[in-house]
């Protein structure tokens, strides 16, 4: 009896250990394959000194490969650590630059900040601080300019008064 693909598939599943109900012909084929496999099994097995030396060589190659892999991993880890340390050092150095105390206030992401004391008249030009500066020195300058302005205003008043007086006379 000729077996078709379905028969062969059932025999294969049966030999794989799956549950499959076989016909007599399928059963016979399964038994034949089992016998043939057993008959050639001992002939296929390999023994000898060649195998032992091949296994030893493969173990050595594997150890070398593993050592190389570990070395590569160590290099990557060290490289990462060095890069992180360098970045940290750079940040620290930038933070510690002299005259940088007011920089947090003036270099905000919103852009330049106008530093104008409260008592300065409105017509006094405001100073835009865009770079690092000493706040105390700036304020002192503004105070001086402010007092100069007051002096100017009093002089202007005196001039106007004298002109008015002349006109009146």
């Amino acid at each position: 009896m000729t077996l078709n693909d379905d028969n062969l598939a059932r025999v294969a599943k049966h030999l794989d250990g799956q549950h499959a109900t076989l016909s007599a012909a399928e059963e016979a084929l399964a038994a034949e394959i089992r016998r043939d496999e057993q008959a050639v099994a001992s002939a296929l097995d390999v023994h000898g000194a060649n195998m032992a030396s091949a296994l030893a060589k493969a173990q050595r190659q594997m150890s070398v490969e593993l050592a190389g892999k570990r070395r590569g991993l160590r290099i990557v880890l060290w490289g990462g650590a060095v890069a992180a340390a360098a970045a940290l050092l750079l940040v620290v150095v930038l933070q510690m630059r002299p005259g940088d105390t007011a920089s947090n206030e003036v270099a905000s992401p919103k852009g330049p900040v106008k530093v104008v004391p409260n008592n300065v008249p409105e017509d006094l030009p405001a100073f835009s601080v865009t770079e690092t500066s000493d706040t105390e020195a700036d304020l002192e300058l503004l105070r001086v300019l402010g007092s100069e302005n007051e002096l100017g205003e009093s002089l202007d008043a005196q001039v106007i008064d004298s002109v008015l007086l002349e006109e009146a006379t």
Partner: protein, 198 residues
Amino acid sequence: MKDEIEQMVAAAKAGRADGFQRLMSAYGARLYGFFFRATGSHHDAEDLLGDLSLRLVRMIKTYDDRGRFEPWLFRIASNLVRDRIRRRQVRSIVGPITDAEGQSIEDELPGKNLPVEAGLLAAEESGRLKTALEKLDDGTREMILLRHFADMSFKEIAELFECPIGTALAKVHRGLKTLRRMLEEPQDNAASHEGGPI
């Protein structure tokens, strides 16, 4: 045994050398046998076992623990054998490489040292088996060897060879019959088959 293999694989996946060594101890002999019977050469078998050990280290993380380890391992072995056979076929098409005096350089390469290999084969009385295996087509030979050395099911073989399970069974059946017939033939008849390349 299954738990033991899982432990070995877990150790190897963690990059531990003992995991790889134990895997090689457990499967090395079967892998060597598979390579030797597939190529017919001790030198090639040794070479391929070395290649496989390197691939094992590089690819162990790709192994999915849900499947069986043997089919995964022998699938790599099977690919290595196919590559080797393909290269050998290309070499035989191109023809022997000769030196300035017309002497074949390939004869001096390891694995082509036929007198030594013939002696070794004779020593283990597997000359007839080698010849019988040479008679099979590459696919059938590989299927039979995977059944024997990798303990692969017909389902796993069918998946590996991308063919219906019934086809895998039919090929193994025919191949086994051929092998058995040739192994049981009287020595004189078997000798007349010798000499063909794998």
